[in-house]
């Protein structure tokens, strides 16, 4: 039982990170019907940029809380700019081109960012400083939970709640959902779809940057091609939840994180990735649209 609860906590932590990254995939897919393969690499880039900012601030600013908050905000801004540039340069010129061209462009952008990171920071892993988040652990009935885990869980939850309300309760959120359903009809409402797409990239990149920083601060080791594996896991999470569906990405991320943690806890972590795809295949067989990806029948 202790293993179960401990792995549940660990799984929810990594699941939150998957969910944050998965939201970027699913939101862009929603408005552009495009898998932004470079998203995972933006996540990796955010860990590197966050580390640079953090090292600059340590020694200048004494409060760790201020450092962490500044790192999150500046990294989110920088990665958003990268996200917007990515859309402008890699995807917008191909908006009317066949779907496959955009996919190839996405893969190209992914390689460009990944190798760009390697050129700048080198192929060896970089290590986040220890104790930037104080190493505090609580023992709750035999289950250990660290301050870092708590931060990941709480901040992810808050961000997801904000996103949910933004998308469902605001005018801009409704415009975003409308653009995802039918771009021309959205234009007829007076919605500037290009602006909505840019907004989507900003939100997706910001959430991804938080995910990337969590990866750096939680696991501490970051490497130039980590965007591939984290991106792939988050992408699978988005598909499991139902691609294009925002609550689906949240649920899929959590589910995948917990699933991986149980595999690692009860079997072996080397099985985690293989069984992730078994899970994906099983879900695709029984629910091809993903768990929440049910489409309302549209009458013609």
């Amino acid at each position: 039982m202790d293993i179960f609860l401990q792995q549940l906590v660990n799984g929810l932590t990594i699941g939150s990170i998957y969910a944050l990254v998965a939201l970027g995939y699913t939101m862009v897919y929603g408005v552009l019907k495009l898998i932004n393969f470079a998203h995972g690499d933006l996540v990796a880039l955010s860990a590197y940029i966050g580390l640079v900012i953090m090292m600059q601030l340590i020694g200048v600013v004494s409060s760790k809380a201020v450092i962490i908050i500044a790192v999150f905000i500046f990294t989110a801004i920088i990665i958003s700019i990268f996200g917007v540039l990515l859309e402008r340069m890699a995807y917008r010129p191909l908006r009317k081109a066949p779907r496959l061209s955009a996919v190839v462009s996405a893969l190209g952008a992914s390689l460009l960012i990944e190798n760009g990171i390697m050129l700048i920071w080198g192929p060896m892993p970089k290590i986040f400083p220890a104790s930037i988040v104080p190493n505090i652990n609580w023992n709750v009935g035999g289950v250990y939970i660290s301050l870092m885990q708590l931060l990941v869980l709480v901040i992810s939850l808050i961000l997801m709640i904000i996103l949910y309300f933004f998308v469902n309760q605001t005018k801009l959120g409704a415009a975003m959902r409308a653009s995802a359903i039918d771009q021309d009809a959205a234009r007829l409402m007076g919605i500037n779809v290009d602006k909505i797409i840019v907004t989507t990239f900003i939100i997706g990149s910001s959430l991804g940057s938080v995910g990337g920083l969590f990866i750096g601060m939680y696991y501490r080791g970051i490497y130039f091609n980590m965007g591939w594996i984290y991106g792939l896991n988050a992408f699978v999470a988005a598909i499991i939840g139902g691609i294009g569906n925002i609550p689906g990405a949240m649920l899929g991320g959590m589910l995948l994180g917990v699933f991986n943690a149980f595999i690692s806890g009860y079997l072996s972590s080397s099985w985690a990735l293989a069984l992730t795809y078994v899970l994906l295949i099983v879900i695709m067989i029984f629910r091809p649209t993903g768990i929440l990806g049910e489409r309302v029948a549209e009458k013609v």
Partner: protein, 240 residues
């Protein structure tokens, strides 16, 4: 007619999809307060014309003047704010959004939603009020058409473009929809109505244009068109 104010003047409008010319130098005008109908069979260029007015398609040449503005150079999302809204062909309601969310998006170009307009639309279409919390995709075809028209009215347009509102509807519903269009006209909105259902459209409209493979082949008041033997044979199912 000439004393009335011209709201829209279309001149030599030419629109093509690649090398295929869908609209070949057509000209027509719409006066303030009128219902003007564009009739024609499938592929005549009716929808293309409306989509070009709304800015969804780019004109190859020619002009669309609305008041003092040249619409052909204005992006689609700015045209609604100028007072022209459209209920497009095939309804195109946002299926996974509720009826009320659809209506509110209709007023996207407005700073605030005018509750008087919303209640007027609910008055025109009581069914929409009953179902305002329901997802638009679960409505029947007729209800979706009502929603598409209601959504277009939410921007409080001066000119309403309707693309085949009767398409695929049962005759009794067609009658209801056309009754409502009459009410909309009486409220002072100018209507440009594209239809295949020539009889119903001409009964309602002040004037009409007949489009055949991208060209205007006949025009006149509804009475003239209804009495024209060519129109009767081609569009009203009467033998010469």
């Amino acid at each position: 007619m000439s004393e009335k104010e011209k709201l829209m003047v279309v001149e030599d409008l030419q629109v093509s999809y690649g090398s295929i010319e869908a609209v070949k130098r057509i000209s027509f005008d719409v006066y303030k307060g009128e219902v003007v109908t564009i009739l024609g069979a499938n592929g005549a260029g009716k929808t293309t014309t409306l989509r070009t007015i709304s800015g969804l398609l780019k004109a190859k040449s020619g002009s669309i003047r609305y008041k003092e503005l040249e619409l052909t150079s204005i992006p689609a999302h700015d045209i609604v704010g100028l007072g022209i809204s459209q209920a497009p062909e095939g309804r195109r309601v946002f299926g996974t959004l509720t009826v009320e969310e659809n209506l509110k998006l209709g007023a996207y170009s407005k700073k605030t939603i005018n509750t008087a307009t919303l209640s007027w639309i609910y008055e025109l279409f009581p069914r929409l009020k009953e179902r305002n919390k329901q997802l638009a995709g679960t409505l029947s075809g007729g209800e979706q058409q009502m929603l598409a028209i209601g959504r277009a009215l939410m921007s409080e347009p001066e000119m309403l473009l309707l693309d085949e509102p009767s398409l695929g509807l049962a005759p009794v519903l067609v009658k209801t929809i056309f009754e409502t269009i009459k009410q909309i006209k009486h409220s002072g909105v100018t209507v440009l109505l594209v239809e295949q259902n020539a009889k119903a459209a001409l009964k309602l409209a002040d004037r009409g244009y007949v489009l055949e493979v991208g060209k205007i082949v006949a025009q006149g008041t509804s009475k003239e068109l209804l009495e024209s033997p060519d129109i009767q044979e081609a569009y009203l199912g009467k033998k010469k």
